[in-house]
Symmetry: C3
Subunit: 207 residues, 3 copies
Amino acid sequence: MEPVEQIIDLITVVGVFAFAISGALTAMEKKLDLFGVFIIAFATAVGGGSLRDVIIANRSVFWLTEPIYTYVIIGGTFFSILFRKKLGYLRTTLSLFDTVGLALYTIIGVKIGIQNDLSGVSCIALGTITGAFGGVIRDILVNDVPMIFQKEIYATISIFGGSLYFVLNHYGITGTKIELLAIFTIIILRSLVVHFEIKLPTIYSKN
Amino acid sequence: MEPVEQIIDLITVVGVFAFAISGALTAMEKKLDLFGVFIIAFATAVGGGSLRDVIIANRSVFWLTEPIYTYVIIGGTFFSILFRKKLGYLRTTLSLFDTVGLALYTIIGVKIGIQNDLSGVSCIALGTITGAFGGVIRDILVNDVPMIFQKEIYATISIFGGSLYFVLNHYGITGTKIELLAIFTIIILRSLVVHFEIKLPTIYSKN
Amino acid sequence: MEPVEQIIDLITVVGVFAFAISGALTAMEKKLDLFGVFIIAFATAVGGGSLRDVIIANRSVFWLTEPIYTYVIIGGTFFSILFRKKLGYLRTTLSLFDTVGLALYTIIGVKIGIQNDLSGVSCIALGTITGAFGGVIRDILVNDVPMIFQKEIYATISIFGGSLYFVLNHYGITGTKIELLAIFTIIILRSLVVHFEIKLPTIYSKN
């Protein structure tokens, strides 16, 4: 394995850990029990990639054959429970990790689409599903209308970053550097959106 | 491609467009943002067929390899947003299109079951899932109890039409005319139910 | 087929019947119509096993090729509707059947994981999904936060029994007797939990 790939693997684990914490915090707000907290952490961390694997033929969901994910999520669950009163101080750090997870998962999804010779729109859909739909499944499980359908520019950035990566790839511009470019584009855009509290223009009249 | 098949393809696109509008309208009632409106339109239009493809082995969901569906749904989403104040006038037309979608999707689902040598009850289940479960997924995503579990004779008509098609097929009565017969049976029954506001008999005592 | 397998088949049918009744009762509390009651019964009875089959590659959901399940669920639905005022008297019996279903489904799930050469944690996950996630899908469909995330030691017993079976199997201790041992362990633990109203320790402070 090349050093760059090792770094990406390491960052992926960090992203999964951050997603798991995000899920565990939501579950604890809803006063779920230990099992509930773990399942919501699990669904948040690997739900998007699982949905991707389910809609493509002949794929088992990735975490069945790579148990490392389950261990990281178990770790994230206990970490969240132990430090739940102090995680407020880590909000900025957690948000950055979540953004890193979004970016990595998006590009992984688009790559899988390209490997399956799918059209651009389907590759980008797979990227967005992988990156952003863990949160959708989390919200459905705790009986909320999914947050990314309502409030935040989150999936839109995944669509944008996935499109950038697909188009460059389509014109033969490939390689690890291009991957990193797309990943950092998503991270920077998302950080700007969070920092300046940018929202999608509303489609409803204000009265 | 035969002319009849071309007509069915054309009608399918119209059905998808109608389902997408139905989803987009629901999403706008819930004040979702642009991304949310698109996803609900998408889930309504292709969720039933996706669920069907997911539960049968070795099938990718159909819209991954046929990007036309995604384009039609994007079109339906923007159409709904632009004309959302005027869609009330089109209620009857939209309801007819939705009925056409129900009918076509039901028969497509039953046919896929027959091609996979499944039993009658499983073929009819696939028809009903394909025809009626896009709306179920829509309702779950916006946090409602699915409408077709509560109020309307919708899935029951899909079951009836699917059964008719399966039985005729079972006795060797096949061909495009039989397909059209089953499709029109569903359309007519559903139109009668809507027009006369027929409901399933309640299983609860009235007190 | 050996006599023991025939008995297990018979008990499985009883478990499915019990799960279907549990689903139908929930649906009737929510005043769903006949179709809704059937679908909730169906999802409760085979939803867990369906989710398992969906996340493993190359499997159709089991009920598509074994229509007996659908017939048992239709029977359970009508039984529930007819005797809905008297099912209160059967609460203890139904709870026992439900526990039997949990136990059998858990071990079936773990066995499928072992057949697919999956790691321990993935086998146990498949067991818990098969045994306990029909109820999760039921609760999502009727718009509740899943009960097993909140109140009861249900999934935890499935995890424990599945782990026991996996570990014994891992050390070469196999056979029908070992299966029955794991099944009865789950049944006894669950019965104790129900009888003594044991709960998971809360992770929240009591104020």
